[in-house]
Amino acid sequence: MAHNLPASEIKLYVWPKLWDIPSFDPYSLSAILYLQLAVPGKFSVIECTDPDLSPSGQLPFLVHGQELVASFSSIVKYVANLAKTEGSTYPSGDVDEFLSTAKRSQRNAWLAHVEANLGNLVASALYATQENWEGLTLPGLASLFPLPQRYFVPQKLREAYQPRLEGAGLWAHPPPDEEEKKKTPFEKELRKKPTIDKRKFLLVFQREKFVEKAKPILDIYSRLLAENTFLFGDQISSLDTALASRIILLLNPPYPEPTIKDLLTTSYPNLVAHAQHVQEQVLGSNAPSIKTESHRHSVWSLIPSGIFSRKSPIPKLTLEKTDEERHVDRMRWGFVGLVIGSL
């Protein structure tokens, strides 16, 4: 059987670019940074707005030949394995090769901490704070999606984060609107007394609460980084990409409500410097450029993926049929024709 396998290039499907950052989603951004370190020039980034294509329902995911890998830590593991199995093609696949087993186990724990806690801060800055949501995130996201989806998908993305952020105490509930209702139509409107603006107080209180929650987390990373260039000494690791991607997402976007951004720039200069260093090294002018394409929108994405089987991102293998198979096919069609003809 002759196989015509397509040349397998690593394809990374991520959320698209916004605000001059390669991806607005921290997981996608850390995956891009990691691949740029591990397999520079040998992968392409596909900007996709349809997370339902992925096996786990979330972006980013990686396609390599027939392999589909979702979630950042699985992608890191897969690419590290590539360095072992196809070492000639992907020599630097395992960025964390220099770490000992003990350090690797610590790296896993820290990665969980970064994704959970710092990820909550990023999500609260993007989705939870009402000003940021209405002023920055919603218009940005809506510009990415095609027509019917731009009206409901951003809200769905925001709702997905809500239980998590509420549990962490980082969800900003909008202050109740104060309506002055007249009890009867005959009541005259009272002259408005200069009342204290309750909404402003609530907003300030929420901001203070966020800062209180953010400080211990950022303190921990500040202590972990200390005076080193990277978290594990002088060499960059996957944990650095995860941390830097989230700090970049807290710094770079033009937030209308910049509480956490200001906190970072004033009190945590080493974290800011670390993020800039990683960005410089990975995406700077010396680094090879990343091939980017965008995924075609499909109307079929409006239908939930479980009901009808949609096009999978994996290309189907085209196998040339042998003579025997062609003979069997001809006989099969002949039999079917005979059955229908005899009815």
Partner: protein, 323 residues
């Protein structure tokens, strides 16, 4: 105007009886020993759970607090599990029920500025939510935790690292435990529409903010799982779409890291005394070993040091409680 006579005679055929009020029975509200209200331990007779283990709860949160109290050296506590979660303070178990004398001392400690204790001290129920358990333990042992900035760990780096391990345990390990627990059979389950947890699903955006959150997969997994109907489809969000293989593979790596970090130490992170991280790790390991189904359970049984550590801590924790 008085009632007219014919109507009065009609009403006299339907006299009104008034019965005396029923006073509630004097229920013994005082506990004689400190009691912990927990979620029930697994009561299935088919499982080979020895009778001593029946004081250990099947819920991770309750077991974590049980382990915390026992590992700090307290003994002779009782447990009860006939109270449902909705009946507990803040809607969550565990709760701590103290005898009057201890309750008075704890109240005095928590509210030092109150000079006149409430006159109805007789009526107050000495019931406290889980977050007040450390204060009570400190008071009983005469030890002030707030003065120890390192919280029992070796150094500041270990204390920071403990946060990372807590995040790992409460993230991937908790998710793997949730998807591998024996599920209550519901119609949604049979249709393959997603995993349910024993507690109700989290409130929607329109209801009031609730301080208690049930730990469903939506709060535990990062990134939050996609809805079953998909993000881009026209149907409203419903259910959670969880990739079992992805969660299990991350969980395998997490357990490998946990086992590696424990090594041959007596307590996690090389501490000389048990710490809250040990209580949390014990809670998860015990629930996985006793309650979880095969692919999740077998990962822990492969690591001999984790199994041995859990066994050793189990005997300490068990010894502190009685029925």
């Amino acid at each position: 105007m008085p009632v007219p006579n014919p109507i009065a005679t009609l009403f006299s055929y339907f006299p009104l009886h008034t019965f005396p009020p029923i006073t509630p029975q004097a229920v013994a509200r005082d506990a004689s020993t400190p009691t912990l209200w927990i979620a029930p331990p697994l009561s299935s007779p088919t499982l080979s759970v020895s009778s001593e283990d029946r004081v250990l709860s099947s819920d991770v949160e309750c077991l974590k607090w049980q382990a915390y109290i026992a590992l700090r050296g307290l003994k002779n506590l009782k447990v009860r599990w006939d109270v449902a979660a909705e009946g507990a303070l803040e809607g969550r178990l565990p709760n701590l029920h103290l005898p009057k004398a201890d309750a008075a001392k704890l109240n005095a400690d928590l509210n030092p500025t109150e000079e006149n204790p409430k006159a109805d001290a007789e009526e107050t129920l000495g019931l406290y939510a889980a977050r007040l358990i450390p204060s009570w333990v400190d008071l009983t042992l005469g030890f002030d935790s707030a003065s120890d900035a390192l919280e029992g760990y070796k150094d500041v780096a270990s204390r920071d690292e403990s946060r990372a391990w807590v995040a790992l345990l409460e993230g991937v390990v908790h998710a793997a435990l949730l998807i591998s627990l024996p599920q209550q059979v519901t119609l949604a389950q049979l249709l393959g529409l997603g995993y349910s947890s024993s507690s109700p699903s989290p409130s929607t955006a329109t209801s009031k903010p609730s301080s208690q959150t049930s730990s469903t997969l939506q709060t535990v997994l990062s990134p939050p799982p996609a809805p079953l109907t998909g993000f881009t489809s026209l149907l409203p969000s419903f259910g959670t779409r969880v990739s079992r293989t992805s969660v299990i593979s991350q969980y395998v790596e997490a357990i490998a890291s946990l086992s590696e970090r424990l090594g041959t130490d007596q307590w996690f992170l090389g501490s000389s005394q048990p710490t809250p991280l040990d209580a949390l790790a014990f809670a998860y390991l015990h629930c996985i070993l006793v309650h979880a189904k095969e692919p999740v359970r077998v990962e822990v049984t492969k690591r001999v040091n984790l199994v041995a550590w859990e066994w050793r801590v189990r005997s300490t924790v068990r010894g502190a409680y009685s029925l």
